[in-house]
């Protein structure tokens, strides 16, 4: 790597000059890495234009251009740079894209660079380099952990008015868009034998081993470039540079049809029974998604085995001003050098408690930087090195200095002497934390391993094994051989043991991975020479943790909650364990006792779009259409939803401007001529079998077994607790054959109830329950001329005469070559029929009815008119059947009164349900017919105060009755049946209405039911 020296020594500040394109990026190395130097990508950061290459991330491209200040911190608005090269990034978050695609809090380290990318820094005003709220730093002794719990209490009203708005405005990082997201999302399912999470050496070898054994493998990696650390190091495998070895291995994998490699796919969560949630960033590396493709795809992966090969996250070190731009994880420094061909500093200090830092020092010198390595360890053997950098052992870095970028560090030697070293980069390494977040999603707690100095997954979820760096097997050789072993084991555990010889590649050179982690600063934080950050993103300092402990918040979970340690968008990936170490130090406990806080999904933040996929806007969920939907549409219907169904609400004529006029006309048509209503949406259940009658007698409150052949009966079913569940009709089609109808909304619920009763409660009853809603188009033909209309259509008009088909009768007829069922039932209270015909003919039938009815004055009517007429007739519906009403409440107390043995009978007899003061269904009419009665109003006696004590009931349904010429209402009123004829007030303080009504019987038209029988 000797040829990779800095291209340009003068760090020119890039500007908005579009010609900048030709200027080489100042920190880009001339060779090396997985970037394509032949192609240039132009992008913007804070309005300035820069260039990068395919293969870059936004972070690497910014670093290449020597942009080091990229954001401001959450609380103190401190300048921040790029700390990492991966998903653990706490600092370098930008607002990506613009307008309706604006995406706040996007980690620059995870953004794959594309041409035309636009990004902005966050949480600063007026600009990144000059930020007014950085004065918060000066107030920091006041803004210490939990300060807000101790103040802002007086005066109470000031919280919402003054204090909170200020706090709210200051909080948050980026801003989201307020416009709808123009991109689409998708969800998909995948299945495999072995899911491998992470495609570093461990994952690649596992995939090769399991795949060659014949198992169905999915290898997912969050990165766009598979390979993990292999891309970031200068290792060689079998004599080949590691990043080239990755390429060859991927080719081998692509030759296996049973292996699916999914780059840009983050496994974010583990759920029960081996379900893994993952999100694939299908098009995030483009300015806009490709046509017909989603932006992201949310995957649910169901697997038999999972191999967690997620690697490890390096730990930073804590010292004063350790957050200055230019302080970077030692491993990230290597990533930038080897993967991206960017040397992030010329004069570097490597501060390390682990051997890993030594590798960084080596890489930096090879990349042309001057390096001083500081390692506090004195007792351990240090790795060998080629002597190209200075080494200071037994020393610590106490403080970094520099405003918008680090300029020097102050170090303290073991003997107490201090000195300062100028630098533009501080590479830090404090050992590694295995990436075991996913192992905890089902509730397991990791345990501390004193030897590895790491938390390890003790009880991963069923079916999961952990390997490589994620299992603290930190050397490459271990990673490779673990991968092979786990891949083979997983495959054979699912019955794939086509065991091929999978050789473990030879690693050149010896790796060591020893670490003596250093959590705090080894003394009271009050000696600090500046802020020392543990959680960069949430600005949690050592002092904050110390104060929390002082105030009794010393449990790990309390420290988290009191200081917000680990609660930022990075979820403390670089902070948590350090924080736990600090607690252990300050409370003098072993790390094992401190434990961890809880890791929860998602592993990294996931867009809501990826959870929703296609189900957005009007596709929120499926809808249902009746067979004559198109006809209704042609007739100008307005549709409304009922239990997913699109139902015609009314059919306005061109000259009708107020929908109430339309409804009034439709009602009048039915009451004076004939109307047609699509009732196909009613639930229809076909029940057959020897025990049908017994079964339905147990289901319905009223008796069904006595229902004669070809007759229809109204029926009500209760829940076990005595409340009414649903109502509908029962028609006896044969001795052992009935057809049951349900309300539209409850069709599913009733079917489930019937199945439960049959399969769970009374499995010995011989019935077969088959939903047939879909088979039948059904139309109400209602009005005094309905019989005339039917007679015009049916092959045999005599079949629908009053004698042949009396009220509540049933028959089958032939219409236009199809067989139809005719039920003489009436919801609206007129002479009426419902005709059911196989759905395929529904459209033709309604058109034929319309045509045949033209001379009779026929018109279609919708759910609104239906609703008005059912109130006029006093039929109960949804607002009355709200799950809190009994038969008695609905005025149906006589139903089932003498019957026993049906569901709900016993509990309906509980004393409170029989209390005579319990509201009961009544009708209500405004005394002044010009007044409006509102559903939702409460009922209060005339002369009583409008208070809760005097509340005697409420109005459930109300409408203007075109037939009566005034408003009518149904309501529930205490002792209502005894108060018929008296007055009551319908009080609606919400809408300022108070209408005196007369209490009446809840049937407003044709109380004796003469019309229906006519």
């Amino acid at each position: 790597m000797a040829d990779t020296v800095l291209q340009s020594s003068q760090a020119t500040q890039p500007n908005a000059d579009p010609q900048a394109s030709s200027r080489p990026a100042p920190r880009r190395l001339s060779a090396g890495g997985l970037i394509d130097r032949s192609e240039h990508l132009t992008f913007k950061f804070d309005g300035k234009t820069f260039q990068g290459h395919p293969g870059d991330t936004l972070a690497s491209a910014l670093l290449a251009n020597d942009v080091r200040l990229v954001g401001r911190s959450f609380k103190y608005h401190r300048p921040r740079g790029i700390l990492t090269a991966g998903f653990e990034e706490p600092n370098a978050m930008v607002e990506l894209r613009e307008g309706n695609r604006q995406e706040p809090n996007t980690r620059a380290t995870m953004v794959e660079l594309y041409d035309g990318l636009v990004s902005r820094s966050q949480n600063r005003w007026p600009s990144l380099s000059f930020d007014v709220l950085s004065v918060n730093q000066m107030l920091s002794p006041i803004l210490a952990a939990g300060f807000y719990y101790k103040t802002f209490m007086w005066p109470a009203a000031f919280w919402e008015m003054v204090y909170e708005p200020i706090i709210r405005r200051a909080a948050g990082l980026g801003s989201g868009s307020r416009e709808p997201d123009p991109d689409t999302y998708e969800k998909a399912w995948a299945h495999c034998d072995v899911l491998i999470i992470g495609s570093g050496p461990t994952g690649l070898m596992a995939a090769l081993a399991a795949g060659s054994s014949g198992a169905r493998v999915i290898l997912a990696d969050a990165d766009f470039q598979p390979g993990g650390r292999l891309n970031a190091e200068a290792d060689s495998l079998d004599g080949v540079a590691s990043n080239q070895w990755v390429g060859t291995t991927l080719e081998e994998l692509s030759a296996l049809p049973n292996v699916r490699v999914m780059p840009r796919t983050t496994v974010f969560g583990v759920y029960d029974q081996n379900t893994y949630g993952a999100v694939e960033q299908v098009n995030d590396h483009r300015r806009e998604p490709m046509p017909h493709q989603p932006r992201q795809r949310g995957w649910k992966i169901v697997t038999k085995r999972a191999i967690l090969a997620t690697g490890a996250i390096e730990r930073p070190l804590v010292f004063a001003n350790n957050d200055a731009p230019g302080v970077m994880l030692a491993s990230a420094v290597r990533t930038y050098i080897h993967r991206f061909g960017v040397c992030p500093g010329k004069q570097a200090v490597v501060y390390t408690t682990s051997d890993d830092g030594w590798r960084t020092a080596q890489s930096l010198t090879e990349a042309g930087a001057d390096v001083t390595l500081i390692d506090p360890r004195t007792s351990t053997e240090h790795p060998t090195h080629n002597g190209t950098f200075d080494v200071v052992k037994g020393a610590v870095v106490e403080k970094a200095s520099g405003g918008r970028a680090v300029q020097s560090v102050e170090i303290r030697q073991a003997d107490g002497t201090t000195s300062s070293i100028d630098c533009d980069l501080v590479a830090v390494s404090n050992g590694w934390n295995p990436t075991i977040h996913l192992t905890c999603h089902l509730g397991a707690k990791p345990t501390w391993d004193d030897e590895k100095n790491a938390f390890l997954a003790q009880t991963p979820p069923p079916g999961m094994v952990v390997g490589g760096a994620a299992a603290a097997k930190f050397t490459l050789t271990e990673a490779l051989s673990e991968g092979v072993r786990m891949g083979l084991e997983a495959a054979s555990s699912v019955g794939c043991s086509k065991r091929l010889n999978i050789p473990v590649p030879e690693v050149d050179g010896e790796e060591t991975a020893s670490v003596t982690p250093r959590w705090g600063i080894g003394s009271s934080t009050r000696k600090l020479k500046g802020k020392a950050f543990v959680d960069f993103q949430n600005d949690v300092t050592l002092t904050d943790i110390e104060l929390a402990i002082q105030e009794g918040f010393s449990a790990a979970e309390h420290v988290k909650r009191y200081t917000t340690l680990g609660m930022a968008t990075d979820q403390g990936k670089t902070a948590n364990v350090t924080g736990l170490g600090v607690i252990a130090d300050l409370t003098d406990q072993p790390m094992a006792n401190v434990g961890t806080t809880v890791f929860r999904p998602p592993f990294t933040p996931v867009t809501l779009g990826a959870f929703v996929g296609h189900a957005r806007g009007r596709d929120f969920g499926p809808t249902r259409r009746t067979p004559s939907h198109d006809w209704a549409h042609e007739m100008g219907a307005t549709f409304t939803e009922a239990g997913l169904w699109q139902r015609a609400q009314f059919f306005p004529k061109p000259d009708e401007t107020d929908w109430l006029d339309t409804v009034a006309r439709e009602v009048k048509t039915v009451r004076s001529a004939v109307g047609l209503c699509d009732v196909s949406t009613l639930g229809k259940i076909d029940i057959q079998g020897a025990d049908v009658a017994t079964f339905l007698d147990r289901i319905y409150a009223n008796t069904i077994s006595t229902l004669p052949l070809n007759k229809v009966r109204y029926g009500v079913m209760l829940r076990e607790d005595g409340m009414v569940m649903d109502d509908g009709t029962v028609c006896r089609l044969g001795p052992d054959h009935v057809l049951v109808t349900t309300t539209t909304a409850n069709a599913g619920k009733v079917l489930e109830h019937l199945d439960f009763c049959h399969q769970v409660l009374w499995p010995d009853l011989g019935v077969s329950i088959v939903p047939v809603t879909e088979q039948w188009a059904q139309y109400a033909v209602a009005g005094p001329r309905s019989r005339d209309l039917l007679a015009k259509l049916v092959d045999d008009p005599a079949a629908v005469s009053n004698d042949a088909l009396p009220f509540m009768g049933f028959t089958t007829v032939q219409i236009g070559g199809a067989e139809a069922r005719v039920f003489r039932v009436s919801f609206c209270g007129e002479l009426a029929y419902e005709i059911a015909i196989p759905a395929t003919y529904g459209d033709a039938l309604i058109r034929a009815l319309m045509q045949a009815g033209e001379t009779l004055g026929v018109a279609p009517y919708g759910t609104e008119a239906l609703g008005v007429m059912r109130i006029e007739k006093g039929h109960v519906a949804g607002p009355e059947l709200d799950g809190r009403t009994t038969l008695r409440d609905l005025g149906l107390g006589k139903m089932g009164a003498k019957k026993t043995g049906f569901v709900g009978r016993t509990l309906a007899q509980r004393p409170a349900l029989l209390d005579p003061a319990r509201p009961i269904l009544v009708g209500l009419i405004p005394k002044d017919p010009s007044e409006k009665v509102l559903a939702g109003a409460h009922l209060i006696a005339v002369g009583r105060a409008t208070t809760a004590e005097n509340d005697e009931g409420h109005i459930s349904s109300a409408a203007f009755s075109p037939t009566r010429g005034h408003d009518i209402a149904l309501g529930f009123l205490a002792r209502g049946r005894d108060r018929i004829g008296q007055d009551i007030r319908a009080v609606d303080p919400l809408r300022g209405s108070d209408v005196t009504c007369t209490i009446v019987d809840p049937v407003f038209v044709d109380p004796n039911g003469e019309k229906v029988r006519g």
Binding site: M153, A156, A171, P180, Y271, G883, A912
Partner: protein, 416 residues
């Protein structure tokens, strides 16, 4: 030391050296007048009001984990008193009133923030139901407003008014509703109770109830036996398990409910908004995260974590209401174990066992109840009679048929 701005400044000048632990960490005594099992919001509030209102201070609150590890520390922090049924409204309104003075009472800023709660409706039927509810509230002297579509639009202009599957037709607004900082409720009550002499004992799981001739005499714990004249159970989510120590079976199932927080954003949503055509409600925390939730997972669970169907369902509700949130990222999801009762309403009552008192069945809505629950439970324990606002929350209501079923879904807890 009192919490105040002055002391905050004073301490800042003194490197914050003077702050004391918010509550002591005492060793359990062998006997207390009252032992409260469960160091959640309700248990701590009960102890506080017993000490403050009833002069009983020889009290221990026993918590199996860290203080606030239960639902008080993991809920979506909504407070409201916009209930429908007369059994509920006065109680939740008492709670609202107590919230309104709580911070001064506790000398702790719990960030009681009455930024309003808006329940959206999407059909005429729903609007009528909201009208009924809003009118019931008004009759009880509780604030409520019925908004039309345009009034809603002014509050949340970026909601989907024009392309939605279920267009917004209006909403029920309770301006006094809002949010409270969850952890601060636990810590504030703990600190205030501690000041009045209450022993708060963490990491002290109760494993049994010692009975003697029908009397509850004390509790077995992981830290030994602790005697008590009276024992109050306030173990939300685990009520069936602790009651089983005394042989009781309850009308409760334990379920998991999930909650979610997004990445921090600059202010987007001011109050609380509840979608009416799906399961989704949201508020924005003072830190900028959108805190949201939806339905319960729907099966019995003590696992305190949920599964993907509800995550997706909630996200679908979110985008149906706010199409701009598709790019919003969910930061964290978690679960809590809650008591779901047979009518969806709580229980505050004596048990058939002398000396054993029960507070539970808070479903997904007991956070808002915290102060009133403590107030009424303390009243019951101290006076042996139910507080008048909690008189409907008796155990025998199921046998009597006097259920309080706001949703009307009957004896199936997962439907409430």
């Amino acid at each position: 030391m009192r919490y105040s701005f002055l002391n905050l400044v004073g301490q800042a000048l003194n490197a914050n050296r003077g702050w004391q632990p918010a509550w002591r960490k005492p060793e359990p005594k062998s006997h207390y007048d009252v032992v409260i099992v469960g160091g959640g919001g309700h248990g701590l509030a009960t102890a506080f009001y017993l000490a403050k209102e009833h002069g009983i201070s020889n009290i221990a609150v026993l918590e199996k984990g860290y203080l606030g590890s239960g639902n008080v520390g993991r809920n979506t922090t909504l407070i409201r008193s916009n209930y429908l049924l007369p059994g509920n409204i006065p109680f939740y309104e008492l709670s609202m009133k107590l919230w309104e003075g709580l911070e001064q009472d506790l000398n702790y800023n719990a960030m009681v923030s009455q930024r309003g709660i808006l329940n959206l409706c999407h059909s005429d039927g729903q609007r009528n139901a909201y009208a009924r509810r809003g009118n019931a509230m008004r009759l009880h002297g509780v604030d409520a407003e019925l908004l039309d579509r345009e009034e809603v639009r002014r509050m949340i202009p970026f909601a989907d008014f024009d392309h939605a599957r279920f267009p917004i037709t209006g909403g029920l607004l309770q301006k006094r509703g809002g949010t409270v900082r969850h952890d601060a409720v636990a810590w504030g009550f703990a600190r205030a109770a501690d000041k009045l002499g209450v022993d708060i004992i963490e990491n002290c799981e109760v494993t049994g109830i010692r009975m003697d001739q029908g009397y509850a005499k004390g509790v077995e714990t992981k830290r030994g036996f602790i005697g008590a004249n009276k024992i109050g159970l306030a173990t939300a989510g685990n009520t069936s398990r602790t009651a089983a120590f005394a042989g009781l079976r309850l009308p409760i199932e334990s379920h998991v409910i999930q909650a979610f927080v997004s990445e921090g954003l600059k202010p987007l949503i001011d109050g609380v908004v509840t979608y009416g055509a799906g399961h989704f409600y949201v508020s924005q925390s003072d830190k900028g995260g959108l805190v949201f939730g939806g339905d319960i997972d729907g099966y019995n669970s003590y696992a305190a974590r949920g599964n993907l169907p509800v995550v997706e369902d909630v996200a679908e509700g979110a985008l149906a209401l706010f199409p701009n949130l598709a790019r919003l990222r969910m930061l964290r999801s978690w679960g809590g174990v809650i008591d779901m009762s047979m009518d969806g309403s709580p229980i505050i009552d004596k048990t058939p066992i002398e000396g054993l008192y029960l507070n539970g069945a808070w479903n997904y809505g007991g956070f808002k109840a915290t102060p009133a629950s403590g107030w009424c439970f303390a009243h019951l324990i101290a006076t042996e009679t139910p507080h008048k606002t909690a008189a409907a929350y008796r155990l025998d209501r199921f046998n009597r048929g006097a259920v309080i079923d706001e949703k009307g879904s009957g004896a199936q807890p997962n439907l409430h």
